[in-house]
């Protein structure tokens, strides 16, 4: 049997892609499950499970028919009932899903494989939502395994995708074994990122968790594994020396480093304090750690992923002017009274740990009194959920990274969501930004959207709920005999080939 061994970034928190926002689950999810629509290289949703679909004149009624030959791994055919149950689960679990749900009047089965979606108002992004490829992904599950309600964790990952999860051989926390679904009927179109054919090439794929980055590099160089999904940047030189190995990025859009304020408590409830810090954020510092080589990192003073359609430099002068004096002056103007501020630092995430160190030094350089609160990731998440002031265990700043799909436009932009208490940790609150966001969602032309995106960034940089600290790409490494590695917004493993012999 042909086996492809791929080392994932980290262990999967769950085999249920609807329960976690961790990106790594899509590596597994795209293999086993499928979505109704799927993104192509141009970022356009293309039908995947859906064979044909129609939209009514008024743009309110979508009718979808599943393509024939779809079947779950347990042999049951995929039906409208499965789709409806799965979408309902998705609506309940995903913020963007919720947006669609709010515009949804009715979701009903028309036939065994035909179903209809009636909106209450036109929504141009409907198919984009159904073809969403970042967590939480609207995968279609058998109704049977999600019968426990949206919060019940799926224990039996049965999908309709090209690979079948092998529970017997899987060792949780170590290796997930996937076997090619011989009954799978792919689409006729060739593979185009997630769109087109999903046909599996190798017989068996093993998704491995290797805790030590050097160990995975050793394993790859020794030919014991075929691919490392994302390498430790410091091992680049070593890997490049090996002629049998390709090192390249699979996600050219990359990730953005975010410095996130707690907008609710002092001192960062005062925009002046936030802006003062933004002035001294030196993206080159962060990128030096994040990017293996300068060419893999990019100073990006936009709230949208640079090089994406909505990128703009409006308001960007607020970030990284590196004018210490001005920053100090602004801080002095603010309400900051010298109380130590808490910067959360995860000790088990080397990259984030380093960014926190840099941020702390920058904060100190303008007169902040900083306490670095080091803890493991789990404790950090726990503490991050506390909204109160630092005296009550709260926090003031944390660092993280967000992938392009969480950044590209005002609609998906995670840190730019200013929905107060319901927004992402940091809880910024701004009506104006919210209004622009809603307008963007309802806008119909690209022109209009572009304009709104500009406005959005201008507003965000004004209130500065977070500071972007640079953009970089992750590098993957694989054996030269692994072929068909996709470089795009998503990079599924099912299409990978392995040439026999050398």
């Amino acid at each position: 049997d042909e086996v492809l061994r791929i080392v994932l970034d980290s262990d999967l928190p769950s085999l249920d892609p609807s329960q976690t926002t961790a990106t790594v689950v899509t590596d597994f999810g795209h293999m086993v499950f499928e979505t109704l629509f799927a993104m192509d290289a141009a970022g356009q949703p293309q039908p995947q499970m859906v064979g044909a679909h129609t939209l009514s004149e008024d743009g309110l009624v979508y009718t979808f028919t599943l393509r024939p030959d779809l079947a779950f791994h347990d042999g049951a055919p995929v039906t409208s009932a499965d789709v409806i149950a799965s979408l309902e689960r998705f609506f309940a679990k995903d913020a963007i899903g919720t947006v669609l749900q709010q515009r949804l009047a009715k979701l009903e089965a028309v036939g065994d494989t035909t179903f209809r979606m009636t909106l209450s108002e036109p929504f141009g992004l409907t198919l984009d939502v159904l073809g969403k490829y970042s967590p939480i992904v609207p995968y279609i599950y058998p109704a049977r395994i999600i019968a426990g309600g949206p919060d019940a964790v799926i224990t039996e990952p049965v999908g309709s995708g090209p690979y079948i999860y092998d529970a017997a051989e899987t060792r949780p926390g170590s290796v997930i074994v996937l076997k090619r679904n011989e009954a799978y009927v792919p689409r006729a179109e060739p593979q185009d990122v997630l769109a087109g054919s999903h046909a599996g090439s190798v017989d068996r794929v093993e998704l491995l968790t290797i805790p030590d980055s050097q160990t995975s590099v050793n394993a790859l160089m020794a030919g014991e594994i075929d691919m490392i999904s994302s390498i430790n940047p410091d091992t680049l030189d070593q890997l490049e020396e090996d002629d049998a190995i390709t090192v390249a990025t699979r996600y050219p859009a990359g990730e953005t480093i975010l410095l996130r304020f707690n907008n609710l408590t002092a001192p960062f409830n005062d925009p002046r304090a936030r802006r003062a810090f933004a002035m001294v954020v030196d993206q080159n510092q962060y990128l030096a750690v994040a990017a293996a080589r300068p060419e893999y990192g990019k100073v990006c003073k936009s709230i949208f992923t640079c090089d994406s359609p909505y990128t703009t430099d409006i308001g960007s002068e607020a970030v990284g002017s590196l004018d210490l004096e001005a920053a100090k002056a602004l801080l002095a103007e603010s309400d900051y009274d010298g109380t130590p501020i808490v910067v959360l630092q995860p000790t088990d995430r080397p990259g984030l740990q380093a960014y926190a160190l840099i941020a702390a030094q920058e904060l100190r350089s303008i007169g902040f009194n900083v306490e670095l609160a080091a803890s493991d990731w789990a404790s950090l998440l726990q503490r991050r959920a506390l909204k109160g002031p630092q005296a009550e265990g709260g926090w003031n700043l944390f660092v993280t990274t967000a992938s392009a799909d969480n950044m590209v436009n005002p609609f998906v932009n995670l840190p730019g969501n200013t929905n107060c208490e319901t927004s992402w940790a940091g809880w910024p609150c701004d009506e104006a930004a919210n209004a622009i966001r809603t307008a963007f969602m309802n806008a119909t032309t690209l022109e209009e959207r572009k304009k709104l995106a500009d406005d959005f960034q201008a507003r965000i940089f004004e209130i500065m709920p977070f500071v972007p600290a640079g953009q970089f790409v992750h590098l993957g490494a694989w054996n030269k005999d692994v072929g068909n590695v996709i470089q795009g917004p998503a990079s599924p493993f099912y299409g990978l080939t392995k040439s026999r012999g050398e």
């Binding site: 249920d16 961790a22 679990k93 967590p135 050793n218 990731w377 789990a378």
Partner: protein
């Protein structure tokens, strides 16, 4: 028979003590697996829903009771993250750790004990000095330096052994042995040092005993004196050490398992802790404490067999 029973009964209270202590300890931090499961960008509402669904919102006492009741039915519970029975997960991980720990102990005994015993025979001589020095050195080598260097040499340069991973015996004995060679050796460095040290001390004590002189008076050769008399009599402390080392290795293999990507209990413990997968932690601790009690019992029995004076 009374002896065994006595040991068993005196050892049993360990398990409940451990169960309570560990339950309190791991919950004292107040961290929440639901939050980790839900991921970095999850909304508060979905974390809350998940928590409720996993029954993590209930009072601690109630959770403990529920766990006990479940335990009473012979069920260790289900992993929060893997959604599989804890017993199955632990069992799936036990083989690798057991193989690793056993082979490390095998190596340690095979190398450490003779080295220590030989040093004891040559007390104060250069050989002894060398053994003392190297065993002190063995204690002080950062384990991953050892690991990386060996991987570099034996896997990447010479290509003799796999760089990582674990092949269960079902994959063939040869693959199994090869996959264990480097990690076991790495893990052994420290233990070889430990065994050499302890053996040197106990054997040199034994060699001072009168019965050694008796053996010499019988005309026994130095080798015979060492192996038949001194080592046999020194076996009790060494066997005891084997027992405690083995018990300690279950938790002490973390680093080695991480460095060689071996799916064992050490890694499972750490991962479970870092993710707060409470059922796994509880199950593991329960298992290790039962194991510990059993190892102690075995050690006591072996020691009693080796030295019948102890059986009283």
């Amino acid at each position: 028979m009374g002896f065994i029973l006595k040991r068993l009964i005196s050892a049993l209270p360990v398990v409940p003590i451990v169960a309570v202590v560990i339950f309190l300890l791991i919950h004292a931090g107040g961290s929440d697996p639901a939050r980790i499961l839900a991921g970095d960008t999850a909304t508060e509402a979905s974390v809350e829903a998940l928590r409720r669904h996993l029954a993590l919102d209930r009072p601690l006492g109630e959770q403990f009771l529920a766990w006990l009741v479940q335990l009473g039915k012979g069920d260790l519970g289900t992993s929060i993250f893997y959604q599989r029975p804890v017993a199955e997960i632990i069992l799936g991980r036990t083989g690798a750790t057991a193989a690793l720990a056993l082979s490390a102990i095998f190596l340690s005994v095979l190398i450490g004990v003779p080295a220590g015993a030989y040093a004891a025979m040559r007390l104060g001589k250069p050989v002894d000095k060398a053994v003392t020095f190297f065993s002190a050195l063995g204690f002080s080598m950062p384990i991953f330096l050892v690991a990386y260097s060996m991987v570099y040499l034996f896997s990447l340069k010479l290509g003799w052994l796999p760089a990582q991973g674990y092949a269960p015996p079902s994959n063939g004995l040869w693959a199994f042995v090869r996959s264990l060679a480097l990690p076991a050796l790495t893990l052994s460095i420290f233990n070889i040092a430990l065994f050499a040290r302890v053996s040197r001390a106990t054997v040199s004590d034994m060699l001072k005993q009168d019965f050694i002189r008796t053996a010499a008076a019988k005309g026994a050769s130095p080798r015979r004196i060492l192996f038949v008399h001194a080592m046999r009599a020194a076996a009790v402390p060494i066997v005891t050490l084997i027992g405690t080392t083995f018990a300690g290795l279950i938790g002490g293999v973390v680093v080695t398992e991480s460095l060689f990507n071996i799916p064992g209990l050490g890694r499972l413990v750490t991962e479970a802790i870092l993710k707060r997968d409470f059922p796994i932690i509880q199950g593991l601790v329960l298992m290790t404490s039962v194991l510990y009690v059993m190892i102690n019992l075995c050690i006591d029995l072996i020691c009693a067999a080796l030295d019948p004076r102890l059986a009283r």
